[in-house]
Symmetry: C2
Subunit: 901 residues, 2 copies
Amino acid sequence: MAQKKYVYSFKEAHEAHLGKEILGGKGFGLCEMTAAGINIPAGFTVTTEACTLYYESGKKIPDFVWDDIVAHVHAIEESSGKVFGGAKGKTPLLVSVRSGARQSMPGMMDTILNLGLNDEAVEELAEAANNERFAWDSYRRFILMFTNIAKGWPRTDMDKMLDELKEQNGYKLDTQVTTEQLKDLVKRYKEYYKKTFNEDFPTDPYVQLKEAVGAVFKSWDNPRANVYRQMNGIPYEWGTAVNVQTMVFGNMGEDSGTGVAFSRNPSTGEKKIYAEFLQNAQGEDVVAGIRTPEHIDWLKDHMPDVYKQFEETIKRMENYFKDMQDMEYTVEKGKLYFLQTRNGKRTAAAALKIACDLVDEGLIDEKTAVCRVEPKQLNDLLHPTFNPDDLKKHSPIFHGLPASPGAGTGHLVFDADEAKAEHDAGRKVVLCRAETSPEDIIGMVNAEAIVTARGGMTSHAAVVARSMGKCCVAGCTDAIIDEEKKTLTVNGKTYTEKDVFSVNGTTGEVYEGAIEMQEASMGGNFGRMMAWADKYRRLKVRANCNTPEDALNARKFGAEGIGLCRTERMFFAPERILNMRAMILSDTTEQRTAALERIRPFLMGDFYDMYMANPDTNVNIRLLDPPLHEFLPDIHDEENIKELAKQLNVTEQKVKDRINQLHQANPMMGFRGVRLCVAYPEIYAVLARAIIQAAIKASKELGHDVEPEIMIPLCGEFKEYEWAKKVVDETVQDEMKLEGKTLVYHVGTMIEIPRGALRAGDLAKDAEFFSFGTNDLTQLTMGFSRDDSGQFLPYYYDRKIYEFDPFQTIDVEGVGELVKIAVERGRKTRPDLLIGVCGETGGDPVSIEFYDKVGLDYVSCSPFRVPLARLAAAQAAIKHEAEAEEADPVNKVKKFLKIKK
Amino acid sequence: MAQKKYVYSFKEAHEAHLGKEILGGKGFGLCEMTAAGINIPAGFTVTTEACTLYYESGKKIPDFVWDDIVAHVHAIEESSGKVFGGAKGKTPLLVSVRSGARQSMPGMMDTILNLGLNDEAVEELAEAANNERFAWDSYRRFILMFTNIAKGWPRTDMDKMLDELKEQNGYKLDTQVTTEQLKDLVKRYKEYYKKTFNEDFPTDPYVQLKEAVGAVFKSWDNPRANVYRQMNGIPYEWGTAVNVQTMVFGNMGEDSGTGVAFSRNPSTGEKKIYAEFLQNAQGEDVVAGIRTPEHIDWLKDHMPDVYKQFEETIKRMENYFKDMQDMEYTVEKGKLYFLQTRNGKRTAAAALKIACDLVDEGLIDEKTAVCRVEPKQLNDLLHPTFNPDDLKKHSPIFHGLPASPGAGTGHLVFDADEAKAEHDAGRKVVLCRAETSPEDIIGMVNAEAIVTARGGMTSHAAVVARSMGKCCVAGCTDAIIDEEKKTLTVNGKTYTEKDVFSVNGTTGEVYEGAIEMQEASMGGNFGRMMAWADKYRRLKVRANCNTPEDALNARKFGAEGIGLCRTERMFFAPERILNMRAMILSDTTEQRTAALERIRPFLMGDFYDMYMANPDTNVNIRLLDPPLHEFLPDIHDEENIKELAKQLNVTEQKVKDRINQLHQANPMMGFRGVRLCVAYPEIYAVLARAIIQAAIKASKELGHDVEPEIMIPLCGEFKEYEWAKKVVDETVQDEMKLEGKTLVYHVGTMIEIPRGALRAGDLAKDAEFFSFGTNDLTQLTMGFSRDDSGQFLPYYYDRKIYEFDPFQTIDVEGVGELVKIAVERGRKTRPDLLIGVCGETGGDPVSIEFYDKVGLDYVSCSPFRVPLARLAAAQAAIKHEAEAEEADPVNKVKKFLKIKK
């Protein structure tokens, strides 16, 4: 039996079809670039299996493995003409020795650079690089690194030697240390090494290498790596590979240099190399910004052969990786090396163009193109933005949560009515509020942007702003907003209504002064991408719309119906709110019904408009949800209480008593949702009647029947749902009889209470649809009030307890389990149950992937998120299809056979 | 093969060992009484199988079944000497025909009384009863009932005939109708019957009976029965049995009569018959209260033979049913019949005495005795009560929720400080508050009773009152309490501090004026019962105690340690609250730590006292839980804000800013619990240090080590728990090192967030115990705020959506599922995980049964509930042991063989 192989050059590794489990992540990447025919610095990988062997052999590298390592070094020497350890007149071969586990463990394990330096090699390096100081500094660093990493000795003393030298000479920077001083330091380092280990610093590069490889293997077992593995569930048994790779230098003379390159323009997506080059320099010089790189044309003009190779390589790279690449490259003495490549970051516009172009070029198929665009980037294309040039001239004065994307500029106002007045007078305003309430909507509609001091990403202000596509920054904890004094104070400076602010809802930054705006533009690539997305997605996408304007927007963005139409806002318009208040102050069912009946014609009109704005798809209307106190003045608002008492011809005390009676200690968990209907069935009855009336009218007008969906919020118990459904059914039947017209209609419930999710099997007995209200479900499952979580969640992010906002992205482990339970139990009772989600997470790509996986029928999100959701749904479907294919036993066998071939 | 039997006399049924599934519930009860040798009116049961046969035969009673029914009627005639259908000079045999399903379906099915009456029999009945009017009224009612029930015809017309007759004669009551008029009405009823059905009213009693039996079978399929079955999950296939039983009359002369009897005194438990007798009367006469019954001695004196039989029967009944019986009996012409018996309701004292006596008499064993006392009744024995005689003289003026049992009387006060001042001055007060806050504790301590306008059974006031054993009535929605004006207004009448009220926390009733009190007394039976309970229970019982006084009370009541010691109240004492506020107003960790360190000595003292008050068992201390704003003045409380600013030497604006910053929209789900520690670890560190310091000091003092349990509240995520546990561990280790003393200590978490329950498998990785906080877990799982649920839960009870308060009794279907999940997942990770419950439901018998079933280790409740919990835990253990025995296959076979024998 042939001896098992433990060392592979990058090329050998590719030919052997080895994977990450043998090569580690870094080794695999190098092997891929080799496969792509990219000229990378030569090198080899010592496999993870060698690591296991190392430990099994009592922390020793077995001879036959070591022999193979040496053989691979020789092979590099041969192909490069460089000499390991240096030889007179020859460029010395220096190598890096790096760990590389199957899964990336950043910073957990060790790296040694410039290995191979000794007193001879350093001279040759100085000559080759034409830079004596560089060579000796490299040597100094190598000794330090070797002592510290390979020998595991603290670097304190050696650092101290350098510090003292700098102090004695009054240097501030390492770069001020002279070559002679470095030579002296090298000498002293070696003396220190000898004193410490009672042996000379190894001049034999193979001795250095053997120590270094062993050290990397040993680092797999160091305490911080063990903790990291524990935290991330990485098995100890995996071991790490070691990658040994030639070091190349761009600072070896006029025929050397270094740079970065994008294979296409990352801003526009234009198919043209976008690169820079810095002659006779190292990567660090580019990063440090000491010198300014040249345009890539410089290379074309001065080193045409290299440039040609450069162009060809980039093309090959794109053809291999089939995506726009972001690369680092070095020219060492006229020879081009690519050190690294990765898929390049790009703007939304560029992402669309590149994906479409790659399809046209036949490099990728439509499904791949769909997966190439980050859904969240689409937002940038739908909202106005600041002119980037003008933006550069401003710095933000404070920031908050990026609650609703876009940009807006205007003078400050602190009151909703004032916002409207100013807007009507043709002036642009930024509405500043401590926090917003439903009565602020009129102000939000008329503002360019909204800024709030309190509230999270899913606070009232944020939710409403997103649904309007209005820019909003919420939870600006540094800002103190005094609504009465009409001032905004930040860092001790106070602003008033005279001041103009600019607000970036995409980043959460707020600026003083006006910044120029630019409008959103949607190119043809956008439409093309959306069409592909629609072709491949399984999930339907609906929109949350409260007004006909929302509905029109949603249609424009491709929504397939309305997943949530909230009715509460319909009660706030001036001609209705007084009757709503009269209803709340009533003492009998008759009084309540009479007051509600006065509102009904308005509601009917609103619903009719919704149906007409959405003629081809379903409209899901949610019956009244918020607690009634939200419709009454605040108990401390003497003026409005007095006014209301007068209007309704009751005593002020009566108004106050009712406000007090309806006071909610925890409104989120209070007297709201279906509970209103259990107490006062007439409220839901009037809404149901208005809905069906509107639907009948719209059906006649449209010439085809609309199919109303009526949603009962906040159900946790079947009998509670039944009660409300009976109220709805009886009213609807009665109204249809009165009108002499029968429509198909559907009644269902939101699942937003943990108990509702647990009892889903019951609820589905009589609910035709479920709609997950993930905002409330998350609040209750996690016990977080979304309005209050801004006070503590930042600490959670700081401490890495939670890493994302669970109101934005569904908490799969907790809330997600309840979603899964509800889907399973609901469908068990009623296999054709229609299931969607209408919470904030319905517009989040990560969440959408989850919803696709658990088999929801649709997601519903704010109109401006619809394109994002369509794309994310397509990506999810493509991913899950691929996973299913992967898991298919037939395909597994096929794949196995292919690998064996 | 013998013809299957479908008709059984009560005696035959007993001999055949038939059960409820064949006889129905009522039939089985009659058969049991027969078995006990009780003289009940003769009769028989037509089985549920006959019902099935009836439907299978196309809604016909098969001939062979009918023949058997007739044979059983003949048997009754023979043994009674009565004649079915009547015969000259003979007492007519009248029967009742009643449905009786396997499971009681009250009011869902039909009953026909006095069957067997016709023109002849009515005359004989008149003679036998010596009451012509009674006979004709019975006849009239029978025709009406037969027409309505057996023939399924609406009774409207027949009711109208009676109404018109009364109207014409100016009668108000049915009893005013004369015999002649009744005779005429019977005539007209029969004419109406003939007109309606085109046939004469059946005079043949067998025709009547056949129709009636069929009608009862048919009623199984009536719409209301179907709905009831659907709602209660009763299978349609079960069918109903029919019971035919002789009617007996106590109004047949001087040698007849009727009465009720208890086999022992239901008030005291004394072993002496407690009964009444009413000569020549029917049951209705007793109920109507027209005549006053005689003491049972009357029967002894006047009908000594009957009395002797009566005494013997009651003794036999007790021997058979092995419990105190509550019976109805009738003497018909000197012959004694028992119509009904059931286990008698009794006072707590009587329940204890009877159970103990029955054990001494050898009738029941200890386990049975333990199950004979309703745990909730024990409450009556632990608290002072009103003198029943004095209580009779008062009527309540309003009522609320019986939030904490007991009784109290005193003049009204509206302010906590005033309560203390009055108490110190030796005057008794009733504290009235709109709702209570933690700052009211001082008032609650010093009041005889507490009354609040808002808040449910688990509001702050209720929870605190119960833990103190202080009488409290909460959520008095009819009362308007104006704390500023110091008035309580109810039904338009306004009371002030001058008025004296008496409050019954057991019933929720509030009285004007003082009612005499009587102290609680605990007899020897109480101790005996508790000893038995302790012998048979599996669950440990701990107490929720916040003060050493609580802990002493808890020990007195038999608590086995403290399941919950809340730390928040410790910060409210005058010498601490200012430092707490200074901590909250701090800007840096150093400032916060400094302020907390000033409180630490006090905390240490409190914890030391807790350990000393509880030297033998564990004390579980919960780290700070409530949101910080609870420690600051209300934002509208200008005076206290000013004062605080002055005390802390900061601006008023700073205080206000912090109050505003800490404002919680939904405090229950806000910045509280472990979240405080994630933000400000120093808070938990100081508490942990004080706990361990106190534990070390107490250990030294006691001469043995105490074992602190430190509980982290509100965890929903493992990393969050880990963060807090690390804070605790580091501090504890540091303090133990400082003190040079090592103690065993335990850290665990409350499970009170649905996510915590779902992630219990994770949490148990590093939590040594779980304690279910069912108050919060219920709030979050059901989405109910307990402070607000008083606004809507009453409607839920009215509409039978929920039938109990989920904060009092665990909602098994919803919250209970999460408890089960958490227990399973927690124990899977850590099999020896200690699991308890410290929410309100920990002291509720139904919930305790559930906790025993799912395998919790202990329940913890307020000290006054400890005896109740001990008893309930014993009952649960006994029940579950019996169920396990029942389910044991070996026992199943044994039982089967015994029945076959």
